[in-house]
């Protein structure tokens, strides 16, 4: 059994997941999480999902964000229910939600249809921008001229990754599903 414990730890492939807000660093997360699933149970938007059967044995059964089911409401409604119920403090309630980052958003611009639904969902003002050829980028839907936000317009929304917290609400409502949530590590790699 000692060998089994070692094997499952050592030969585990390192995966990368978007974790719930307030999650401790990935190196200590799998040590603390007992896969009880209570965070997934309480999540009001059903945004949390389990990591399935993968070669990343260490993380089977741990929670991750799945934007197919929902987005995280922590910034919009100060929810953080997952952090409150976690028995082993693998998810901790942060002092202020403003400093917490779950990940970041990447938009596949070719697939975007400029529906601007993402602007309506984004809880952080200024995280989603619309390029303006004559000055500072637009921050609100009502400022964007309809000529620019036409479906076939070459101008598409863009993300200010210094502000985006990666809650995934925009990706959840995106009709063509052209937005991806990148994990904290992926974000570091791309930066």
């Amino acid at each position: 059994m000692v060998a089994l414990a070692g094997a499952t730890t050592r030969f585990s492939v390192a995966g990368d997941y978007v974790r719930p807000p307030g999650t401790v660093a990935e190196e200590s997360f799998f040590r603390r999480c007992i896969k009880c699933g209570i965070c997934v149970e309480v999540c009001p938007t059903r945004a949390l999902d389990f990591v399935g059967l993968t070669l990343d044995v260490k993380n089977i059964g741990t929670p991750k964000l799945n934007v197919r089911h929902g987005g995280c409401m922590a910034w919009r409604k100060e929810c953080l229910k997952c952090a409150d119920v976690c028995p082993t403090q693998a998810i901790k309630r942060p002092a202020t939600i403003k400093d917490v980052r779950m990940g970041s958003i990447h938009i596949r611009e070719r697939e975007c249809i400029n529906c601007l639904l993402c602007f309506r969902e984004c809880p952080i003002e200024g995280a989603l921008l619309f390029p303006n050829p004559h000055g500072a980028p637009f921050r609100k839907t009502r400022d964007i001229p309809s000529a620019l936000s036409d479906r076939n317009s070459p101008v598409k929304p863009c993300v200010d990754n210094s502000l985006c917290i990666g809650c995934g609400l925009c990706a959840w409502v995106c009709p063509p599903r052209c937005m991806d949530v990148l994990s904290r590590n992926e974000r570091r790699m791309r930066a």
Binding site: A3, T8, T9, R31, E41, D49, G52
Partner: protein, 266 residues
């Protein structure tokens, strides 16, 4: 018969509670961590695992852990036969196998299983204890609570949550094959294979209530009780109370009605 339906009901009610909790997004908790208002119960294995692997003792969990141990001391291993969802699933698979054993391929499987079981050594609770200690040492050394990933109770719990939250089952359901194989092909199962059972054994020894006790003058030594007993005990003789899961199958099956449930301390 009444006992049997009560047992099935009780087993399903645990799962139903999780399902209801998920549907209503209440934090009622799971088999690994119950949470009703201020009442908290933690899986003892999960607590020990997480403490060993992260090197911290969760002060907020010591209370729930002690309460669980207290419950085991008081009631014994009732969890195993009255709540354990893994036991529930396995019993139903067993019933299916028994029903299908007249079909050719199933017959062969059953025969194969019987042959395999006869060649393999019979494991008892000492092997279970060795497995538990080995696992805990491994967890302390490598810092990964791997029992919580493979635990069939955890797998079933997570899939019930997944089913009622997202209306689909997870791929980790395949991990259930491990305990099913352990029970069927090697017939170890609950006696030696379950770390939770091994851990409960010692506090459960102190449990004095709800013991099945045989009346020796009525007993005809037919051994029907030992045959149905999931842990092969004979209530007529002296037995280890830490092994008994208080399922009372023996009380139901005894042809002479010689086994009674002893409610309290005599």
């Amino acid at each position: 018969m009444m006992l049997r339906s009560a047992r099935t009901l009780s087993r399903f009610s645990g799962l139903a509670l999780i399902a209801a909790g998920t549907m209503a997004a209440l934090s009622t908790g799971t088999f690994c961590y119950w949470r009703f208002g201020w009442i908290r119960l933690i899986c003892p294995i999960g607590f020990v695992e997480a403490s060993l692997s992260s090197g911290t003792i969760y002060r907020s969990l010591i209370g729930p852990f002690l309460v669980v141990l207290g419950l085991v001391v008081l009631l014994g291993r009732v969890f195993c036969s009255w709540l354990c969802p893994s036991n529930l699933v396995v019993t139903h698979i067993a019933r299916l196998v028994k029903r299908g054993s007249s079909i050719g391929i199933m017959k062969r499987t059953v025969l194969f299983q019987a042959r395999l079981a006869s060649t393999l050594p019979v494991l008892d609770y000492r092997d279970g204890l060795a497995l538990l200690v080995g696992s805990l040492v491994g967890i302390a050394l490598f810092g990964y609570p791997f029992l919580s990933t493979f635990c069939p109770i955890g797998v079933i719990t997570r899939n019930v949550i997944s089913l009622f939250a997202h209306f689909r089952l997870g791929t980790d359901l395949f991990l259930l094959l491990l305990p099913v194989a352990a029970v069927y092909l090697f017939s170890w199962g609950c006696i030696a294979g379950c770390p939770l059972g091994s851990l409960q054994r010692f506090p459960a020894r102190m449990s004095k209530v709800l013991r099945p006790v045989g009346e020796t003058q009525k007993c005809v030594n037919c051994k029907a009780c030992t045959e149905v007993c999931p842990v092969q005990l004979h209530p007529g003789a002296k037995y280890d109370p830490g092994t008994c899961t208080k399922c009372f199958l023996c009380v139901e099956t005894c042809p002479k009605k010689a086994i009674v449930i002893q409610l309290g301390v005599k």
